[in-house]
């Protein structure tokens, strides 16, 4: 168990416990959340609460990067934000950090919520990922992280 300082895209940072233990994605479930246009969580379903290990009250109103795992390269999230800010759909494989420091992999799809032509927020749905893709992304993200640190 180690404490790791995480620097987020909004300039803030946080020290989090990281444990090298995967929690399996629940069969048949979808993890659902909504955020405002700045990425602050406005809604999350029960599967989100259970998998994240946080209470709902700890999640609502806070930035979605509360789930950011230190093994995820910043470039992955930059790609996400660059895409959804153009009102387009983004999808990708993400390693998430739980409150207890353990991790879980998801295949995430994020769509902009457009109402009367205006962007009002984002909806994100995560589902159980292919293990082959997870293995590929584990290697890819390691390379990307090494490049970001060099």
């Amino acid at each position: 168990m180690t404490g790791v300082k995480l620097n987020y895209y909004d300039g803030s940072s946080n020290e989090r416990v990281v444990v090298d233990e995967e929690v399996p994605f629940p069969e048949g479930k979808l993890i659902v959340s909504r955020t405002d246009t700045k990425g602050n969580i406005t809604h999350c379903n029960q599967a989100f609460i259970e998998m994240s290990g946080f209470q709902e009250s700890e999640l609502i109103g806070v930035p979605h990067h509360i789930l950011r795992h230190p093994d995820m390269p910043a470039a992955a999230f930059k790609g996400l934000w660059d895409t959804i800010n153009t009102k387009a759909k983004w999808s990708g494989y993400v390693k998430n950090l739980r409150k207890d420091g353990k991790f879980y992999w998801v295949y995430a799809v994020v769509v902009p919520n457009i109402r009367n032509g205006e962007l009002v927020g984002f909806a994100s749905v995560r589902r159980k990922p292919s293990r082959t893709k997870v293995n590929e992304c584990t290697e890819l993200y390691k390379t990307m992280l090494a490049e970001e640190k060099s």
Binding site: G28, L30, N45, K89, V109, A123, V125, K128
Partner: protein
Amino acid sequence: MKFTMTVSPDFSPDHIAGWYIFNTWLQKQTNEAIHLELYDSFEKQREDIEAGKINLIYANPYDASMLIRDKGFIAIAAPQNKSDEAIICVNSESDYQSVEDLKPQCNIATANDPEVSTIGMIMLEPADLSADNVNVSEHKNYVMVAKNLINQSVDAGFFLKEAYDDMSKFIKSQIRPIVTSQISVIRHTFLISPEFLASSNLEENDFRELLNEMHSDAKGLSTLKSLGFDKWENQSQEDAEFMIDLMDTLVT
């Protein structure tokens, strides 16, 4: 003016009479002439939707997306505690215990139900299976999907959970679920067309109230029971828009 109501063709055959009873109840309550048109195929129903022949519809989430965003239909209500879930089944004698046991080029049977096919394919993703590497055969209804599983001409079949639950004990003894979705937020929705609102003697809120209070009187409650519902709950336009956003995340 005479209006036309329809129901998504994936409704259970057990509830055909229930929809006729509901239509009679609705006509009495609204004082409007409403014809119930039931379809046994999605294609024919969509043709009539395109032709502007439908004014009220109990729509599956897939069609609700198109009706709300492209045709301006208004979401009114959804059955309480009733979400659309999918089940993947195998032959009960087969060795398959989880989706990861299914391999590329396996044979999958589906009914012609786009929503269930979408959710079913999502549940196959962890096994590295997709439309590109499985053989999908479409069948007329879920009984035919079950028959193909029982005679072992396919490896797995997709079912709407409600359709699976309504199957006979004899059929269920020969097939076995390996995974069930627990999505909760995707559901059938009752919609009305803008033309209905413009021509009917009811305001949108009158119609909402009518359905939301339907369970409060004995006749309304027994009609709901014949549809397999406990009560309607209000579905705001934002509820429907959010469900459509979620459907959008599933279609990639």
